[in-house]
């Protein structure tokens, strides 16, 4: 029954402990709404059939409702509405009261990406990894305008405001990948300000977290990390392409010459770019690397300094692979068809 109604109403999968409870009330409310609006419509039609105008000079009796009828008109909706309200408010309070044993993750929204930071150090862009069956509290703030953190499968949403912290919590029940949307309008990239929550089995999460911590510790020592020795899969260009999609580079930079939030990568290598301070720079390996690590240093004229630093997010081989990928993007080497806009890697196999 639950599943049938959920599919009929196009509700997404129920992947958190809230989802089922919220949906139960949803069914009750929507079914009442359907029944009531149909009943009113049908009554009007029945009255029309029963009380059709028979002659143009017809007169009608003067009728006023009895007191009990008026009471019914007020009472019936009052009972339904207050029932909805109290059922809903109980759930609302629960959704806004994080349990004490919650695990904290810090969330920062900015145009147009999500950054997640775990208290012990690991952080990530656009991908939030959480263990299944664990209460997770998100402490959220924004660096520019208002955003809203929304995961439909969890039935969870909260605005992310600049200048203050807001919080929500959830307990993901089913391992899988779920899309994060920005639900508060925030400008040109609003609709591509998407990320994903990866819900891992507790053990997998522990392994991932330990690896992150180890990587972090290694990097602080300046020693090469395990990733540095990983066998390359495919050419450096292919690796760079994959990294660009994973890291969200392609949300702002196109690879077909279309102007977007950042400069397009097509024909970028070897070009002379005019910077916002008026000087000119030759785009070479050094400038590309610097732009990934300290993006606000040399901003190309006509673009906003909105890019985050990837210092500590990309290993040396990854940076090199990205540079190689950008170098490979020369217009004689790519298709000339119409723009398909910034690439977005779909995350769910629907």
């Amino acid at each position: 029954m639950n599943d049938l109604l959920r599919r009929l109403l196009f509700l997404p999968d129920q992947a958190s402990t809230f989802a089922k409870d919220v949906d139960q009330l949803h069914y009750f409310v929507i079914l009442t709404t359907f029944v009531m609006s149909t009943a009113v419509g049908l009554t009007a039609i029945i009255f029309f059939i029963r009380f059709r105008r028979r002659s143009e000079s017809q007169t009608t009796p003067h009728i006023e409702p009895a007191a009990w009828m008026e009471a019914l008109f007020v009472g019936v909706p009052l009972i339904f509405f207050t029932a909805w309200f109290f059922l809903g408010y109980r759930e609302f309070v629960r959704q806004f009261t994080p349990p004490i044993d919650s695990m904290d993750v810090y969330v920062m929204g900015k145009k147009w990406m999500w950054k997640f930071a775990y208290p012990d150090g690991p952080n990530s862009i656009n991908v939030l990894r959480v263990p299944a069956g664990q209460n997770v509290r998100l402490l959220m703030t924004s660096r520019d305008v208002i955003h809203s953190f929304y995961v439909p499968e969890f039935r969870v949403k909260m605005d992310v405001l600049p200048g203050r912290y807001t919080q929500i919590w959830f307990n993901a029940t089913t391992p899988g990948r779920y899309q994060i949307f920005c639900a508060e309008y925030c400008g040109a990239g609003h609709s591509i300000m998407r990320g994903e929550v990866i819900v891992l089995k507790p053990q997998e999460y522990e392994d991932w977290y330990a690896a992150q911590r180890r990587g972090l510790a290694d990097r602080q020592d300046g020693a090469p990390t395990a990733l540095d020795f990983a066998p390359p899969s495919g050419s450096m260009v292919d690796q760079g392409k994959r990294i660009a999609a994973d890291q969200g580079c392609l949300k702002c930079h196109t690879i077909d010459g279309t102007r977007h939030i950042g400069p397009s990568w097509l024909d970028l290598y070897g070009r002379r770019e005019k910077l916002s301070d008026g000087s000119v720079v030759l785009v070479d390996e050094a400038y590309l690397t610097e732009s990934m690590m300290e993006p606000a240093q040399k901003v190309v004229e006509g673009f906003q300094p909105v890019m985050p630093s990837f210092q500590g997010k990309l290993t040396a081989p990854e940076t090199a692979a990205l540079v190689e990928f950008i170098k490979s993007l020369q217009s004689d080497a790519v298709r000339t068809g119409p723009s398909e806009g910034p690439a977005y890697a779909p995350i769910r196999g629907r």
Partner: protein, 549 residues
């Protein structure tokens, strides 16, 4: 005296006094008129024009949404377009549509008055509307705004688009709204005909009165808010932008303190139109006159205490969220009272299924469905999933387009003979009504489902799995668009070639039908004395006595 010329013609036994349409036919006689009926027609023409502009924007948006990826226009154009669609439809169509067009035309007639209390202010109200529209239009052409019609800070105080002229335009239009409200309140208090006590006033007047109260009390708050945003943008003061020490949620409180009651500015007059038409076409007294009249005032009152339900996930306290959720339920109760009484009015009536009645049926269905989904949204926990998704978009389109525009069309067809003295083609009327009701459902039912599915609003691109429902919605919108075009065609034909209608073609006993259709400039040769409740169909006697001199 302004009317002496017409009066002296009548006294001299000249042929019939020219009706208001033929009393001066130069352009200046229209632009400089102080006749409430002509001001009403000026408003009707202006709001209809902007309705089609806003509708065109909507169709362009729907066209883009056929494809999940970039298509037809870029993200910035899309963002500007949905902002303009909202601003044009709300400030230039919905808010003035029924009060300023139909209200101006029929309210004095219903009260047995010769005009509104302040005819010059009334004309000024139309000019302010035009000036505001022109300023906003200037901003639209010179870059537009990409903030959404809600102008949320700090986005609106930092975006480089032309927000200031559009804010200023809305600010000026606000004064037009205030003047109309002021005029109606004074008119209702001072210009009622002999025998027309408060408890005999037509229900449209009650709802126009409640609307006017909201217009006067709430619009200044919007004006202040928009002015502060402009000052913040131009002067760099930090009032809403946290980077400059302001509070962005303060903006949302101030904005919705106006804009939630503004929703009732859009729906209350529509409810008034339905109260009139349902009686006229059921040929029946209003079932529960007092209940309908006082629930209008109830909505106007409670409407001021519900704004916080727009902020349930915006970071206000959980307790405050609950309080606003509960208060919002009362609007639902007052609306339910009205709905039951309208349906009750049909009971044992003599119902004639004319075009306006088709719109009444559409209205009832849309209002109940849209209203109950509104209560569902105020059910705090459900709002978390639905907030800022297409579910909200579908909900308020059900109320604003479903209910308000249905009532607008019902009123337009009901008062068309009153305004122009012409009859339109009934068959085309019913075809267009069916097309519109069908097309409307096909447009917005998929949007309810999209909201359930999790598609946020104001999305230029969307994941592929939302596409099927978006295509369905666009198909529905096309159907809806055709419906409106048909109406323009057959009403245009009726205006030019339509046959002369009778003075009271519906046999209605609303007070506005006591005079000729179209009425003479001074409305009544002699002020009528009201002897009955409005819409008393026990007899065929007219509901008032006019002593002809």
């Amino acid at each position: 005296m302004r009317l002496s010329e017409a009066d002296s013609h009548a006294l001299a036994g000249a042929p019939a006094v020219p009706d208001y349409l033929h009393d001066g036919t130069t352009v200046m006689s229209w632009l400089n008129t102080r006749d409430h009926k002509r001001v009403g027609i000026l408003f009707l023409v202006s709001v209809t024009f902007f309705f089609f502009v806003g509708g065109l924007f909507a169709l362009l948006l729907r066209l883009k949404l056929l494809q999940p990826g970039p298509f037809f226009m870029d993200a910035l154009s899309y963002n500007r377009l949905f902002t303009l669609h909202g601003i044009v439809m709300i400030f230039l169509f919905l808010i003035p549509a029924i009060p300023s067009a139909f209200g101006n035309f029929v309210l004095p007639l219903m009260l047995g008055a010769r005009d509104v209390a302040f005819p010059r202010l009334n004309l000024l109200s139309w000019y302010l509307y035009l000036i505001g529209a022109a300023v906003a239009l200037w901003g639209m052409i010179h870059g537009g705004a990409d903030t959404g019609w809600t102008f949320y800070t700090p986005y609106s105080s930092t975006t480089p688009t032309q927000v200031a002229p559009i804010l200023l335009g809305a600010f000026i239009i606000g004064f037009s709204s205030i003047l109309t409200g002021l005029n109606f309140i004074v008119t209702v208090h001072t210009l009622r005909a002999p025998g027309l006590g408060w408890m005999r006033m037509p229900l449209f007047v009650w709802s126009a009165y409640a609307t006017s109260v909201i217009q006067i009390l709430a619009t200044p708050v919007l004006a202040i808010t928009l002015l502060i945003v402009t000052v913040e943008r131009l002067g760099g003061f930090g009032l809403f932008d946290p980077a400059r020490g302001g509070d962005p949620v303060l903006f949302q409180h101030m904005f919705w303190f106006y804009s939630h009651p503004a929703v009732y500015i859009m729906i209350l007059p529509a409810m008034g139109v339905i109260s009139e038409t349902v009686c006229a076409f059921s040929r029946k007294n209003p079932f529960g006159y007092k209940a309908i009249a006082f629930s209008s005032l109830g909505i106007a009152f409670v409407g001021f205490f519900t704004w916080g339900h727009h902020l349930l996930v915006a970071g206000q306290s959980v307790f405050v969220g609950g309080a606003f959720g509960l208060l919002s339920m009362f609007v639902g109760i007052f609306t339910a009272i009205k709905v039951f009484n309208w349906v009750g009015t049909m009971y044992r009536g003599a119902i004639s299924f004319k075009t306006p009645f088709a719109y009444i049926c559409g209205f009832l269905y849309f209002l109940v469905f849209g209203g109950m989904t509104g209560v569902a949204l105020a059910t705090t926990s459900l709002d978390i999933h639905w907030h800022d998704t297409y579910f909200v978009v579908a909900h308020f389109h059900f109320i604003m387009v479903g209910a308000s525009v249905m009532a607008f069309l019902a009123g337009l067809h009901y008062w068309f003979p009153k305004m122009f003295g012409k009859t339109y083609h009934e068959g085309f009327g019913l075809v267009a009504a069916s097309l519109i009701i069908l097309g409307f459902n096909a447009t917005f039912i998929p949007q309810f489902l999209l909201g359930n599915f999790g598609m946020p609003r104001r999305y230029y691109q969307y994941p592929d799995h939302f596409q099927a429902l978006n295509v369905a919605s666009t198909a529905g919108a096309t159907l809806l668009g055709f419906g409106f075009v048909i109406i323009v065609i057959y009403l245009g034909i009726a205006l030019r070639w339509g046959s002369r209608s009778e003075s009271n073609p519906w046999g209605s006993k609303g007070f506005e039908w006591l005079t000729d259709s179209p009425p003479p400039t001074h409305n009544f040769d002699e002020i009528p004395t009201i002897t009955q409740m409005p819409h008393d169909y026990r007899t065929h006697e007219p509901s008032g006595v006019i002593r002809v001199t």
